[in-house]
């Protein structure tokens, strides 16, 4: 049996907020921490984007035309690269020019608009397409929503915007015992192909790779290829597809270079191709092979790739997150349609405040997921994240002519 391998990497950087107190409200309208954002972007560029792009470019050339990968890059990340590390944009363009890389669509601001405001969701998907065209090149027919958040309600809209496939978490909740190693279609929008993420094999790289307590540590390309081969042999039907989706920052940032992550990724494509039973595909290629009457996935409740729950509780699981989200999306009416340059500035600020990271920092889960939230957070506590965010929202509301 053979198996298609679909690598998809998420590139994202939020506009982190500066410390913004009650004293700033109504006086200062610069919300973002340029110093920290620039420093983080440059650090991640140096540790991850540049070396990993070089590694992938090398692999694509070495194994041409057999090695392929896909990316989605948020507009907020592109904006910051353009400002502080434009050579990273060049490096991504070089990758895209090989023809072996597909760019996926998503929301411009890595937002939760799909759950809150359908019009805003559509506007951001268009905006993202435009920013990709401006800085990188054309997007393909694949779509992934913020943090792989997927639900029936948004799928019809995604199909209506011309996309062919959607990456989705391969959770038991939607697979109901069926294999995570093949493509499906969505019952809510049968035109769309569903490409499940194999979360165990994805997280083996993204989370467990450097864990010395893990029984498989240290993970080698040969051992990992053995696991994938096991999946290939177990896959009953030909044309199986295994999705390995992860944050791009996994490489060199979450897993540092000294963990051996780069050596692992350098060796993996050759190790898989050598075995003769694997083919690398992009979402567009994977979708093309899926029959019109493929089995359907139903996603009545939102699904995501975050936390143990794989739902949306990482962003809206507690009361302070929900009140912040409600406040943010309550401004839609005042902002979306307003004409003029001032409104455009306000709208961009508002969109940067929609980025899911702001709500992620407010999570109060206590368990191992809490540590993951804290790892990413610039705040001392979820409550401080909430206070800072609400202060900024107060100012934005005032600028929009709303009373506090």
């Amino acid at each position: 049996m053979s198996l298609d391998i679909c690598f998809y990497f998420q590139v994202h950087q939020p506009w982190r907020l500066r410390r913004y107190t009650y004293k700033d409200i109504g006086r200062a309208h610069d919300y973002f921490d340029d110093t920290a954002n620039a420093a983080i972007l440059r650090r991640v560029a140096e540790h991850c984007y540049l070396p990993m792009n070089a590694l992938l470019l090398d692999a694509i050339r070495t194994h041409a035309p057999h090695f392929r990968v896909s990316f989605s890059i948020t507009t907020t990340a592109l904006q910051q690269m353009a400002l502080w590390a434009p050579h990273v944009l060049l490096s991504f363009r070089e990758l895209l020019a090989t023809g072996a890389v597909e760019l996926l669509g998503e929301t411009s601001h890595h937002s939760l608009a799909a759950l809150h405001d359908a019009d805003e969701f559509a506007a951001q998907v268009r905006l993202h397409r435009a920013s990709c065209a401006r800085w990188l090149g054309a997007c393909g027919g694949g779509f992934r929503n913020t943090e792989l958040i997927t639900c029936n309600a948004m799928l019809e809209q995604v199909a209506g915007m011309g996309f062919e496939s959607v990456c989705i978490e391969g959770a038991e909740r939607v697979l109901h015992g069926r294999a995570a190693t093949r493509a499906y279609r969505f019952s809510a929008a049968p035109r769309l192909v569903a490409l499940p993420r194999h979360y165990r094999l994805s997280d083996d790289i993204a989370f467990r790779f450097s864990d010395r307590q893990w029984s498989a540590w240290p993970l080698t390309a040969v051992r990992y290829a053995d696991w994938l081969q096991g999946e290939a042999e177990a896959s009953a039907t030909p044309g199986g597809c295994l999705g390995l989706y992860m944050d791009y920052e996994t490489f060199g940032e979450h897993q540092w270079a000294d963990t051996g992550i780069f050596d692992f990724m350098r060796a993996l494509p050759g190790e898989l191709l050598r075995r003769g039973c694997f083919r690398f595909v992009t979402p567009a290629q994977a979708a093309r092979a899926v029959a019109a009457d493929a089995e359907r996935l139903d996603v009545p409740q939102p699904l995501s790739w975050a936390d143990q729950e794989r739902d949306t509780s990482a962003w809206n699981g507690n009361a302070i997150q929900r009140v912040a989200l409600a406040r943010c999306y309550a401004m839609a009416g005042a902002l979306r349609q307003a004409p003029g340059a001032v409104a455009a500035t306000l709208r961009e600020d508002w969109r940067r405040l929609q980025t899911s990271d702001h709500f992620y920092y407010m999570a109060t889960k206590h368990r191992s997921d809490g540590d993951v939230h804290q790892y990413f957070s610039p705040y001392a506590s979820p409550y401080d994240a909430h206070i800072n965010y609400m202060n900024v929202m107060d100012d934005l509301a005032e600028r929009c002519g709303q009373r506090r």
């Binding site: 107190t21 009650y22 004293k23 507690n318 009361a319 302070i320 929900r322 009140v323 109060t364 206590h366 804290q374 001392a380 506590s381 979820p382 409550y383 401080d384 909430h386 206070i387 609400m390 202060n391």
Partner: protein, 434 residues
């Protein structure tokens, strides 16, 4: 198989409910009860105690009463009377003189020291401490114990004298240190007592990592003999509570400071942050609960800051009043300059009231995540206070998360760790208790 006889500990302390000035008495009670429940026989002796606490494995008494008891024929072997009994009072010791007593006689070398101590413990504190030591030593010759466990410096001279006389191993328990209480104005004699007791003790219990670090860095105590024993809430708190004693929306906009009006507790920082809050939330009311040497100075500061209409000085509150105020307030702020633990934070959460903690406190180690600020960062304190007053969702979240964290703390658990430490100490004592 022979059952080992129960472990007998002689506890020496300075406060025990209901007569308390702060956290020390409550912590003493929690520990003593926890140990008694864990099967340890605890005799808790104070310089003066006008009640008799009697529970299985636990007896609490003033030293005069104990003297009378042990001198009665056959007293050492006789179980104490089963019923609560009001014991006679030693008129010379008045450690629990009401806080209203003024003017306080302070320790000569510590005139600027915080004085609620002095107020609580009576007139000339130094001589009372020495007197207590002499009497404990004398009386200690009449009872048997396996070890001594002493709470805070006032009982350390007594503990050291008795330990030397009887050869019993000594544990000292630091609920605060002189550096916490007095900062740069630390009384060298008290520091010397604390250092000597910690150095001679077989084990030092510290109420937090924060205090443990002070003992290592400022007292030079060997790190490996200091064990952190966290305080706990009075009663186990059901976790996590969705229903609160009084809903946030129904509470008056009270922001509470509760503690001695002493440098260590940061009441001046509370007022400075309050002035910021009052400018943006004119309806807010700030309750300063507690008494101490800074009172007049703070009242003047409140006027200078334009807080005349916003601040109420409530004075020292009894246990029932504390519960009532905390149960109605919207927020407790603990802006301590140095806070070894901060039991009041647990009490506030128990009453369904959110807290802002000083980053210079021990309690933050057990309440994490939580709202915290440096005591000197008045802008941050004000920012947090304004937000909690404004957003009931935030207040509620802080309470339910805080209470869930409290569920991990109990006096029983802390007592188990102390009991284990006792056993280790005794095992290391050749020939005492095989």
């Amino acid at each position: 198989m022979l059952h080992a006889p129960p472990l007998r500990v002689l506890m020496l302390g300075w406060e025990y409910p209901p007569r308390i000035a702060g956290g020390l008495g409550k912590a003493s009670q929690g520990i003593a009860r926890g140990l008694a429940q864990a099967g340890v026989q605890v005799l808790f002796v104070l310089p003066r105690y006008d009640r008799a606490v009697q529970a299985p494995g636990l007896r609490v008494a003033g030293i005069a009463a104990w003297l009378r008891h042990t001198r009665a024929p056959g007293a050492a072997a006789m179980p104490p009377p089963a019923r609560m009994q009001r014991l006679a009072v030693d008129a010379r010791l008045r450690p629990y003189a009401a806080l209203a007593l003024a003017p306080h006689t302070r320790m000569p070398a510590a005139a600027d020291r915080v004085d609620a101590d002095a107020a609580l413990y009576g007139g000339d504190l130094a001589s009372e401490v020495q007197r207590y030591a002499r009497r404990v030593r004398a009386l200690g010759m009449a009872v048997e114990a396996d070890l001594i466990h002493a709470h805070d410096w006032m009982s350390f001279p007594a503990a050291l004298a008795l330990a030397a006389a009887r050869g019993w191993p000594l544990c000292v328990h630091l609920h605060s240190t002189e550096y916490d209480r007095s900062g740069a104005g630390a009384d060298a004699r008290i520091v010397a007592i604390e250092r000597e007791a910690c150095t001679r003790a077989a084990r030092v219990f510290a109420v937090s990592e924060y205090t443990r670090d002070v003992l290592i860095e400022r007292y030079g105590i060997a790190a490996d003999k200091i064990e952190v024993i966290y305080n706990a809430p009075d009663a186990p708190v059901p976790a996590p509570l969705t229903r609160m004693p009084l809903a946030m929306a129904q509470r008056p906009p009270w922001v509470v400071f509760l503690g001695r009006l002493a440098f260590q507790k940061g009441p001046d920082h509370f007022l400075r942050a309050a002035a910021e809050v009052a400018r943006h939330a004119p309806h807010a009311r700030f309750l300063v609960c507690g008494d101490g040497g800074m009172r007049a100075q703070l009242q003047q500061l409140a006027l200078d800051l334009g807080l005349r209409e916003h601040v109420e000085f409530r004075g020292f509150l009894g246990a029932r009043e504390v519960t009532r105020v905390l149960g109605q307030a919207r927020l407790l702020v603990m802006p301590s300059v140095s806070e070894p633990f901060g039991l009041v934070a647990l009490e506030a959460l128990g009453a369904g009231t959110p807290v802002i903690l000083s980053r210079q406190s021990g309690v933050r180690e057990v309440l994490s995540p939580s709202l915290q600020a440096d005591f000197w960062d008045h802008e941050k304190l004000a920012d947090q206070m304004l937000a909690v007053l404004r957003w009931p969702e935030l207040a509620q979240q802080l309470v339910s998360d805080g209470r869930a964290q409290l569920a991990g703390l109990s006096w029983a658990r802390s007592a188990q760790r102390i009991r284990r430490a006792y056993a280790e100490i005794l095992a290391a004592q050749p020939g005492v208790r095989p």
